[in-house]
Each structure stands twice: as C-alpha cells, then as structure tokens.
C-alpha cells in the first residue's frame, strides 16, 4: 500500500478534492468546436447573441472621457445600418464609472468597473475594498476583481477565499466577476482548482472571468472549457449557477461563435444569455458588425467603414 501523505499542502489538497483535468481530452474536445459549420440565419442569430453578451471594454492608461463617451454611444447603438441588440455592459476603470454612467443615460446597459488593484491585484486588501465600494457608489453595476495569483501559487488559499468573500460583501447589490488570470495559473488543474475555490464563496449569478487581457496569455477555448466544466460540476453538486466571462484575445466573430458552441454543448441553453455568459472584448464588436453587414448586404466589408483605428490600408 502506498504511504499516506499526512502533510499535503493546501493546494495539493484542493487539487485532490476537485479532481484533475485531462489535458489531452480537453484539447481534443475544443478542437472539435472549431469544425462546426454555422451559416446564414443561425450565424446571424449567433452574432447578435454575442453582441448582447459583450462587455465593451476600454482599459488603457490613455483612456479619456471622450473615448469613454464614444464607447458608450457605440454600446447603445452599435451600428448605423444593422439593427442589433445593445451590448450587455461597458467595462472601464473606476475613475471613469461616473462618466460612463452619465453617458449611458437610461439605456439598459450595465456599467462594469475593474477594481481591486487591477490588473496585478498586488495592493493591500483595505484599499482594494475601498476601490470596490467607491466604484459601486459611483454607479457600477458590476465589479471585475482580480485574485492574487501569487497567493494561489504559494498555497495561501484561505486568504484568496476570504478576499473574494470580502469583495463580494463590499459589492452589495453589484455583481462580482472574479478574474482568475488563467495564464498565470500555469496548468489546467490549477484553473479548475481556482474556479472551485472562487465558486465556493460566490453568489448565484456572479462570474468567473478568465483573464485581465493585460498578460500575454488570454482566453482560449481550452481554458474556457476547463472553467465551463468546473461550473457544470459545481452546479450539479450544489445547484448554484455561476456565470463565466472569457476576456482578452477574442478578436473575431468566428472565435466568438466557437466559444458559444462550447457553452451550448457543455452547459446548455440556460447559459446562452448575457446573465450567464459574457465576452470581455474591445475590437470584437467591430468584427461582429462587419460580419452582420456582410450577411445583410452580401459583400465583404472594408474595415474603415467601422470605428476602428485601422492600421493597415
């Protein structure tokens, strides 16, 4: 009989508890999602659904009130020719929340704010919570927080869980999105473990978000799938539905539709709604509109007809 490890690290214990991820199987599975053929009316339906799930994002040091204002206009009426739903939310830095709220007027679009020392999270808990409370006071409907990846990797799991719980409390009515920053978690096993860690303290309808979009690694079909399956297992076990938001690196319509296929085939129709699934993206919207206009007008479009800072010619 193998010797029983009595002094396993907390991370190891958690990994054992939630079970491992079969890397080969996950990657094979998601490779299949890219082979589905979605055309014509179902494509238009899918593209419109993606628009309605968008967290239209601008998170740059050079953001100005002007840029946020035009982002909000775009959120309300994405295209001048094609009728689409409005996007789900605009996602900005805390300093822009009041302004975004004002620009959105009475449109049914949420204001999401990153908080808690985005993107690194390496700040004292006290100021991170202050940030959250301030953003909520300023009118944020949703808070995107980052976890301390360093604490996770060193096995300080209790601390992460406590911090998520404290942030959820500070959010009050606002929904919370917990950014795992999957690219810094190194392995699929860790992503699954971190998902369970967060889900245990999240409220129904709160989100797990893959990435900040500020590191080299971003949302991929594979790490999205790991989280989807974690959410499924957690839901079957506890009955609590947790939502998910892949962010970063989803730049074109084709990718976005593949993510939707993953959702449909893993969690079912209940998750095909902006309440349970979001895309965090900035350049994706223009590509969606480009494809929608292509479907409407029948000809391939030029990028300069959309509000892109287009660098080619």
């Amino acid at each position: 009989m193998p010797p029983v490890a009595l002094n396993k690290s907390p991370l190891k214990r958690l990994l054992d508890e939630v079970g491992p991820v079969d890397q080969v199987a996950i990657e094979e599975r998601v490779a299949k999602f890219t082979t589905r053929s979605i055309k014509k009316s179902s494509k238009v339906w899918g593209l419109n659904l993606v628009v309605s799930m968008l967290d239209l994002t601008t998170l740059e040091g050079k953001d100005t009130s002007g840029k946020v204002e035009s982002l909000c206009r775009k959120a309300i009426r994405p295209d001048e020719f094609v009728v689409t739903p409005t996007v789900a939310a605009v996602c900005v830095y805390p300093a822009m929340v009041t302004h975004a709220r004002r620009c959105l007027g009475d449109a049914k679009i949420k204001v999401a704010s990153v908080a808690t020392g985005f993107p690194s999270g390496q700040f004292p808990l006290r100021t991170r919570l202050q940030e959250v409370k301030q953003a909520v006071r300023d009118g944020a409907d949703e808070i995107d927080m980052v976890i301390q990846r360093g604490a996770f990797l060193t096995g300080d799991l209790q601390r992460i869980q406590n911090e998520i719980a404290a942030t959820a409390e500070a959010c009050g009515e606002a929904r919370l999105k917990v950014i795992l920053e999957v690219s810094e978690l190194e392995t699929y096993d860790n992503i699954r473990a971190a998902s369970f860690l967060a889900m245990a303290v999240l409220r129904p309808g709160d989100f797990i978000k893959t990435s900040t979009g500020k590191t080299s690694g971003n949302a991929t079909l594979a790490n999205n799938q790991v989280i989807l399956e974690a959410i499924r297992d957690f839901y079957l076990e506890t009955g609590t539905p947790i939502a998910i938001k892949p962010a970063g690196g989803i730049k074109n319509s084709k990718q976005a539709l593949q993510f939707l296929i993953a959702v449909k085939e893993t969690l079912g129709d209940a998750w095909l709604s902006p309440e349970r699934y979001r895309f965090g993206a900035s350049s994706l919207l223009n590509d969606l509109l480009m494809q929608l206009r292509k479907q409407q007008q029948g000809v391939y479009q030029a990028p300069w007809k959309f509000s892109d800072a287009f660098s080619g010619y």
Binding site: G298, V299, Y300, Q301, A302, P303, K305, G312, Y313
Partner: protein, 289 residues
C-alpha cells in the same frame, strides 16, 4: 533500387505561407491527351477574403519602404526567376499547349518585365509627380500614393507573363496584391510563389490564389476592401466585374482577352501601368514660409 517518386504538392501562396484552399478542394491539372499531372488548390471566396486581410496588413509596411529598397527587392525577384528559368519554362510547357521554345521565350520576357519595373520604382515619382505652375505666392505640387490592396486576375495564357505583367506594375509603387492565376495552367504561378518567398518581398504583398475565375470573380469585384482591380477578362465577365465594382467605386482596369502575342509587345511595359494604381495628392504651400 528504384527511388520512390517524390512529387510536389502544389499550394497557393498567401501571406508568405504556402496554403491549401480553406475548402480543401482541388482540381486536376492535365497534360496533353488528358494525362494527370497534379492537383491544384481550388481557392474560394473565403480564401480571397483571407488574402485581402493579410495583404492589407502588410501593405503599409511595403508602402513605407524606400522606393530604392522596393526596386532592390523586385530586382532580386528577377534574379530568383532567372536562376530557375528552365524550371519555369518546363512548367509553362507542362500542359502541352506550348512548345518548350515558346515557353522559354515567355520566361525571358517575364523576367525582363520584372527588371523593367524594378528600375521604375525610384523614378516614376519624378516623372508623374510635379510642381504645378500656379500664379500666386504658393508652391503647388502633386505627389503620388499607392491606393491599397488591388485584385489581379491573370489571363489563362500566357499564364506567367500575364500574371507578372499585371502584378509587378501594381506592387512597384507600394500597393499589395491578391491575384488569381491562370485556371488552365496554374503550375508556373505556383513556382512563382516559391520565388516570391525567396526574394525578400514581405509575405502578403503578393498573394497568389489558384482556382476558377467564375468562382471568385464576383468576390474580387464586390469586396469593398479591394481598392483597385487589374483584370484580364472576356466580355461577359467584364460586365459582371464593372457592375459589382461600381458599388464600392473601385479603380478598375480591364485588359480584354488579348491574343497571346500581344502580351509580348513592348507596349506592355509602360509607366502608365504604374500610374493606373496611384492616387495623386496635390498640396499648396506658401512660398518662403
């Protein structure tokens, strides 16, 4: 022991990579008496769209090179083709429509055409651009700019000479190109892709698709991102192209299906072939300021 035959898989050349059609379709290239030679990728409108995306991306880089550098690169393309001229001639003669002697003549004329335009890259501006005489305390001058991504459809024959004759004057000023090669003999174009890849030309400046013109002509004509078309078409095709291209107000230049011989004419090498795909920018500037 006899060696196993090693045959080359013909591939289209897009974005500096050798690709199959996204549709995975191919069509057979046959020699005289219907003998099978190889399968050619049958590119689609989606391949065309993808090629336009990469052509646009690399275009600004190509246009910002110095004209001298563009000339050097085109000259190197000429060198690459010259070194493999016999292979090109064999490829032209492959389908059996031409004698090897005529094929060699076509290759020589083609390489000369490349060298001709390589020479023009840092000279056309002096000839086409100018200071304009105005009465007033201003300088007024016109300078040229490339227009962007241009679509090219080559003649079926002469397959190589017509392709080069339509592509090179367009790219020498900084445009990028998405080209459809001859449907009846695409093999020389496939070899040309390999030479483009080794000529220091940034990948994506010239993209060569293979397939049938009736499958992609409408996409070429209607795609709004293509700013110009340099096409060799017959009368019916011409009407389709002109009608669809008018929607996005493209610069369109159609070479009706000429006799094979006409492509060898010296008239075909011309500064005006460069000018067709330039935009002129005229600027007023106060004197002495």
């Amino acid at each position: 022991m006899a060696r196993l035959p090693i045959t080359k898989t013909p591939k289209a050349y897009v974005g500096g990579k050798f690709i199959r059609s996204e549709s995975r379709r191919v069509y057979p290239l046959n020699g005289k008496k219907g003998s099978f030679i190889c399968n050619i990728p049958q590119c689609t409108r989606k391949d065309t769209r993808n090629a336009v995306v990469v052509a646009a991306k690399v275009g600004t880089n190509w246009a910002s090179r110095t004209p001298y550098n563009r000339g050097q690169i085109l000259y190197r393309l000429g060198e690459m083709m010259e070194a493999r001229s016999e292979e090109l001639a064999q490829a032209i003669a492959l389908t059996g429509n031409l004698s090897i002697a005529s094929a060699r003549k076509e290759v020589a004329t083609t390489v000369d055409c490349v060298i001709y335009y390589a020479g023009w890259t840092d000279k056309y501006e002096q000839v086409l651009g100018n200071t304009n005489p105005v009465s007033g305390s201003f300088l007024n001058f016109s300078v040229t700019e490339p227009i962007g991504v241009v679509g090219v459809i080559a003649a079926d024959q002469p397959s190589l000479l017509s392709l080069i004759g339509l592509v090179i004057p367009v790219i020498c000023s900084g445009n990028s190109v998405v080209a459809l090669a001859s449907s009846t003999n695409a093999y020389p174009a496939i070899l040309l892709g390999e030479m483009l890849a080794t000529s220091d030309l940034p990948g994506g400046v010239v993209n060569i698709l293979t397939g049938f013109r009736h499958e992609v002509l409408e996409t070429f004509a209607s795609h709004e991102h293509l700013r110009g078309l340099n096409l060799c078409l017959d009368k019916d095709e011409q009407k389709i192209a002109e009608t669809l291209a008018s929607e996005s107000v493209k610069r369109i230049c159609i070479h009706s299906r000429q006799t094979d011989q006409a492509w060898f004419d010296e008239k075909h090498k011309s500064l005006y072939a460069i000018r067709n795909f330039l935009e002129f920018k005229t600027t007023w500037h106060p004197i002495g300021a």
